[in-house]
Amino acid sequence: MKKIPVEKIESGMILGRNVCGPSGSTLLIKGVCLTTALGRRLKNWGITSIYIEGEEDTPLEVYTSSISANKLKEHLTQKFSRVIHNVVMKKIFSAVYQHRLQKSK
């Protein structure tokens, strides 16, 4: 079993473990044959890495799925750049930031 980031998915790879969404529901069942299109799809739904069948085992920490707090903040700051002066948007910003940080843990 090997853990790889979704960007590295190639057609023909076999999924080694079920893919669960951040709240626990199953999105893909192990044994399924992957495609690059599926990789893109997983990324759209917020999945960052998966396990594929293969000889070498990669330690869990190698590709940590959590996006770093700083990167997330930077990304959201860019997205919100034109509305962040607004009080309500500020609240939304910090709630989204908090929610996504918790989820990536």
């Binding site: 709240s23 529901s25 759209n44 739904w45 034109r82 309500v88 609240k91 929610h99 989820k103």
Partner: protein
């Protein structure tokens, strides 16, 4: 750059605009009669094979709570009820209507677009549930089709679409703002025109038309406000992409009228995420 400014006029002359399967009309008619049975509705739906397959996929998704356990349309009606099944048929019909939107515009990913739309539907559904709004299913469809006008632009006016897309992304502004610069019409207006041609309920037409700026005077204001918030929330959560990378300003009156001030936004996002995940399978219907 040669831009067609007269979309408003030329739209009326397109004879090949996507249509909904005729089954929709027969079901609506059948449902007006309180004596109609589940079998009769089931029969009407199954006359359309492609649609039936999509409906069965939908009813068996995690979103409706009975994954993999419903084998016939009649069974679905018994378990989920007439009105839910009617909305599921409408959802399937919308996917069916747009199944062959295959022209390519550089920098636009249809799958990302549908992900944004499905997520917005699921988030609208979640918000309605949180707020005790009984029209959850209507809110789902409102979210699902809110940007349908963009798809019409994409399909029938690829050059104009591409200019708006490129402009929005290089200037780092909203797609909507790009439309206002280049076109004589917005995706809200195009979308509501389609919804009207499809004879969707006027409430839904209104929510498509006003999702960027819902005002209390408009028909279906509260549900439109829900779609408005859902659109902003799923952008912030990065589910898919509807054509730009920015966050629009949340309408002040919607914030007040949906009483969002007194709610925990973080737990709202948790609920939304949950619901969006259950709807992920819908993408296989496009």
């Amino acid at each position: 750059m040669e831009i067609n400014k007269n979309i408003q006029q030329s739209l009326l002359n397109i004879s090949s605009l996507p249509t909904l399967p005729t089954v929709i009309e027969s079901i609506t008619r059948l449902l007006q009669n309180p004596k109609t049975s589940a079998e009769e509705i089931g029969k009407a739906i199954t006359t359309d094979q492609a649609l039936t397959a999509k409906v069965l996929k939908l009813v068996n998704s995690a979103f409706y709570g009975f994954p993999g356990r419903i084998s016939t349309i009649t069974h679905a009606i018994v378990i989920l009820g007439f009105s839910t099944v009617k909305n599921i048929v409408l959802t399937a019909s919308i996917f069916e209507a747009f199944k062959s939107s295959d022209n390519a515009v550089c920098g636009f990913d249809l799958e990302q677009f549908w992900t944004h739309s499905i997520a917005c539907g699921a988030a609208s559904h979640a918000l309605a549930r949180i707020m005790g709004n009984k029209e959850k299913e209507e809110c789902f469809i409102g979210g699902l089709i809110h940007d349908i006008g963009k798809l019409i632009l994409y399909k029938y006016y690829p050059e104009e679409f591409s200019s708006v897309l490129t402009y929005a992304n290089t200037e780092d502004i909203l797609f909507y703002e790009g439309e206002k610069k280049f076109l004589d019409i917005t995706h809200e207006e195009i979308g509501s025109y389609i919804a009207q041609r499809w004879k969707l309920p006027s409430k839904l037409q209104s929510s498509v038309k006003n999702h960027h700026n819902p005002l209390p005077v408009y028909d279906n204001y509260i549900n439109t406000g829900i779609v408005h918030c859902a659109d902003i929330f799923v952008r912030a959560l990065d589910y898919g992409n509807g054509g730009d990378k920015k966050i629009p300003l949340l309408s002040e009156n919607v914030w007040t009228d949906l009483e969002l001030e007194n709610r925990s936004l973080v737990s709202i996002f948790d609920t939304i995420q949950d619901e969006v995940e259950k709807a992920t399978e819908f993408i296989y219907l496009i």
